[in-house]
């Protein structure tokens, strides 16, 4: 923190003095112009006798707790609302923002600003956003007790603040977001589960703002982590169908199908129409199954090879499916009619020679279920046979998809 600092609540109603030291009004608000500078207070709004005036930062000589704001230039313009202005009192104070490092949604109680003298004038820069008990205390007593006394008293309470760089403002209006230079780049680096927690804490309009702007792949991961299927659906419903489709394409087809089945038919059709053909077919197929059957649980992200393939073939197939590698633990073999014949634990490949047959590495017993098996039975299978992946076949024994342990964990958690 700079040696000299000022809280926004102290700035409020500070007297503003002209060149001769006469009071022309009191400070009513202060504003950033993020396009110009991310943290410098660019304008001060002053309540004059009849109207509000705007003071630019370069019209100020000094700002002190004792003497208020002293001007160096008296040519003040009347205040008019400017869309490039982020007003601290109006747009920030009491609103919710995202604490990027703490990974949560917080409410702004006060703003800490640093005072720097650049030779000609005092410049205020937003340093921290204050949350927690200390700032509540300060705000409740501002105007009741003298400012220096409040500063002394509050030292007993531990501070709780977020550095301005890590405070992300949420703005639902896309045009305004652009004008105020608000982006959600920092959110994209979070773990999807943390991002989902944050999104769950926000109001629908703000949720929409985030999903609208972040990268579709990140959005897909975060949306998967949102727990309530109704919320998942309503988030996508409120997006443009193209954007919703982009996000859907990045999701696992079974997740996408689950969400679509929560929506009204028209909306889900609209989104499906916008999707690329390959993921669209996968999702459509999965949509056919009841939610609480094996068909509804399964996804189509598996790797299957023909009956007499070798380890080398398997390696080649894996190279072509690199996006699956993170979660893949079983390979499947199918015959000419696409019927499931064997399952091979992936780890066995490491110990086998390149030319050995996959068939010889297969698990001794193969557990499989049909698409219409109930959810409860499927969970039972996972428990009984200690499975990580369970293949699902259709009536003709053709491999239709796989259920993975994480799907089962979600089900058990929901109970």
């Amino acid at each position: 923190m700079a040696d000299k600092y000022l809280y926004f609540t102290e700035l409020l109603s500070m007297p503003v003095l002209d060149l001769k030291g006469r009071r022309i009004g009191r400070a009513k608000d202060a504003a950033l112009v993020p396009r110009e500078h991310a943290a410098r207070i660019d304008r001060f709004l002053v309540g004059g006798e009849y109207t509000w005036l705007t003071v630019r930062f370069d019209q100020i000589r000094s700002i002190t707790l004792e003497n208020g704001i002293q001007l160096s230039d008296e040519q003040l313009l009347p205040y008019h609302d400017d869309e490039y202005m982020m007003r601290i009192g109006r747009d920030l104070l009491d609103q919710q923002i995202i604490d990027v490092t703490g990974r949560k949604v917080v409410r702004v109680n006060d703003v800490t600003m640093g005072i720097q003298h650049d030779g000609q004038r005092d410049i205020l820069t937003v340093l921290e956003v204050d949350i927690g008990v200390r700032s509540i205390f300060r705000r409740l007593f501002q105007g009741v007790l003298p400012r220096p006394l409040i500063r002394r008293l509050q030292r007993r309470i531990p501070p709780n603040s977020i550095r301005w760089e890590f405070a992300n403002v949420v703005e639902p209006d896309p045009l305004r977001r652009l004008r105020l230079n608000i982006s959600y780049d920092k959110l994209e680096e979070m773990h999807p589960a943390d991002l989902a927690d944050i999104v769950e804490d926000l109001a629908p309009a703000e949720r929409g703002a985030i999903f609208e702007t972040i990268d579709s792949e990140v959005a897909a991961d975060a949306l998967t982590e949102v727990e309530d299927p109704k919320m998942q659906a309503s988030i996508l419903e409120n997006l443009e169908p193209e954007k919703a489709a982009d996000i859907m394409e990045e999701m696992a087809p079974d997740e996408a199908a689950d969400i679509l089945s929560e929506m009204k038919e028209e909306t889900s059709e609209e989104i499906l129409e916008e999707m690329d053909s390959e993921p669209k077919t996968d999702v459509r197929e999965l949509l056919e199954f009841e939610d609480d059957t094996a068909g509804g649980l399964m996804n189509t992200e598996y790797v299957a090879l023909h009956d007499n393939a070798t380890v080398a073939d398997a390696m080649a197939a894996l190279k072509g499916n690199e996006d699956l590698l993170e979660t893949l633990n079983t390979l499947f073999l199918i015959d000419e009619e696409e019927r499931l014949t064997a399952a091979i634990p992936l780890a066995r490949l490491f110990l086998a020679a390149g030319e050995s047959r996959l068939k010889d590495l297969a698990s001794e017993t193969m557990i499989q279920v049909t698409v219409d098996e109930t959810q409860d039975r499927v969970s039972e299978f996972f428990d009984k046979y200690n499975l990580l992946t369970l293949p699902v076949v259709d009536d003709e024994g053709k491999l239709a998809g796989v259920i993975t342990a994480d799907d089962i964990i979600s089900i058990l958690r929901q109970k």
Partner: protein
């Protein structure tokens, strides 16, 4: 037999399936404060208070509709909105008042637990601490949502009041006339009762609870009309039950001799037609209602305050993550239950007083609600229709008027 059971189960499932925030709120509305307030009104003033139920129902529907509409349109809780639009100081003030009023309500719920079991000579020193600890663990560690359905189903016990109200052979003509003929008396006891009746039915804490529940359930402006219907039906149901409690008590107690109710055995007389089961039914209904409300009230209060002041909240958070939330939640239960244990604590008088506290706080909450819901930048096309505003402002004026009248009379003539 099996078939019958299956059908029964099917009906319960249907019943539970349509349940939403509006319905739950309506059921919690008849908590121990509600039961005692209506019983006391009927026992002391007979059919006279019935006229209030019609306007109270209208205002209840209007306030709850406003809350669920605000929740659906903005996706934010009531204390969130108050904070964002009115700033920290006003929020702090309102939240302090809310905590105080709700604390008396929590006391009332534990007083309800104590009085419902004291009929059977089970000491409150056993029942109240057990209930307090039980509620705390149920909400924080247990699975409240599934237990909630048990509470709701047990609320069916209220039907006994409807049966009793008919069996007791009340003077229906008198009841009908009094239902539509307003009657004002400048008597502090009567005004005390009026404020209590409004306060128990349109309790401020319920508005916060309802709005958060609507948000939590993810109701949006598009599918809002179903919620509106649910809220309306719930409100009417609440007041139908209130009507029969008053009628039953008027018929069974007042018609014999008007009296103040001071304990549960007197209030149980309202169910006299059930003979030897009256006490059991009354006590079971009161116990269920008290514990149901005691599970919701402290939690809802802690949520409202933490949301408004920007502290972390939620039972899925660890205690170190949300210390203030847990502190508030635990204190409300500990203090609320603790006060009831003070020897000689007047249970029923406290319960009635808590509902008056609700009635006194109500107009202030209502003022903020009306201002919020008329903000076009917040609500868009969903702002209030004019007659909603008229009815709300009328309620504000009447409730403040009644409170002032009560204060005036009390200062002049001592306690009535």
């Amino acid at each position: 037999m099996v078939k019958l059971l299956q059908r029964f189960r099917y009906h319960i499932l249907i019943f539970l399936g349509v349940l939403g925030p509006g319905f739950i709120t309506a059921m919690v509305d008849n908590d121990s404060g509600g039961i005692y307030t209506y019983s006391a009104a009927g026992a002391k003033y007979g059919y006279l208070p019935l006229w209030t139920l019609l306007p109270i129902t209208v205002v209840l529907i209007i306030t709850q509709e406003m809350c669920s509409r605000m929740g659906a349109v903005t996706g934010k809780g009531l204390s969130d909105l108050i904070r964002e639009e009115f700033g920290l100081r006003i929020t702090f003030l309102l939240m302090s008042l809310l905590v105080l009023a709700n604390l008396t309500n929590v006391m009332a719920e534990f007083a309800g637990v104590a009085s419902s079991l004291e009929i059977f000579h089970i000491s409150r020193y056993i029942t109240v601490p057990l209930a307090a600890i039980g509620v705390w663990f149920l909400v924080v560690k247990g699975n409240y949502t599934s237990v909630e359905k048990v509470f709701l189903f047990a609320s069916v016990i209220y039907v006994t009041y409807i049966v009793s109200g008919i069996l007791v052979k009340p003077d229906w003509k008198e009841a009908a006339i009094n239902s539509v003929r307003p009657m004002l008396m400048l008597d502090s006891g009567y005004i005390f009762m009026l404020i209590g009746m409004v306060g128990t039915t349109i309790a401020p804490w319920m508005q916060f609870y309802l709005q958060s529940a609507v948000v939590e359930k993810g109701v949006t402006a598009k599918d809002y009309s179903a919620s509106r219907l649910e809220v309306t039906v719930g409100c009417i149901m609440t007041n139908v039950i209130a009507f029969f409690i008053i009628v039953a008590c008027a018929g069974a107690i007042w018609s014999v001799a008007p009296k103040d109710i001071t304990d549960a055995s007197e209030a149980a007389l309202g169910l006299k037609p059930f003979g030897q089961y009256a006490v059991l039914l009354f006590s079971a209904g009161l116990l269920n209602a008290s514990i149901f409300a005691a599970s919701i009230l402290p939690l809802s209060t802690a949520y409202s305050v933490c949301e408004g002041l920007g502290f972390e909240a939620g039972v899925n958070k660890r205690m170190s993550e949300a210390p203030i939330f847990y502190f508030l939640y635990t204190s409300l239960i500990v203090v609320g239950a603790g006060v009831v244990l003070i020897p000689g604590f007047p249970l029923v008088r406290m319960i009635l007083l808590s509902q008056v506290a609700n009635g006194v706080l109500l107009p202030f909450i209502l003022i903020f609600m009306v201002i919020l819901i008329n903000k076009r930048d917040l609500m868009g096309d969903w702002v209030n229709p004019r007659w909603f505003n008229l009815a709300s402002w009328a309620t504000v004026v009447i409730m403040i008027g009644l409170t002032l009248a009560l204060v005036g009379i009390t200062i002049r003539g001592g306690t009535g």
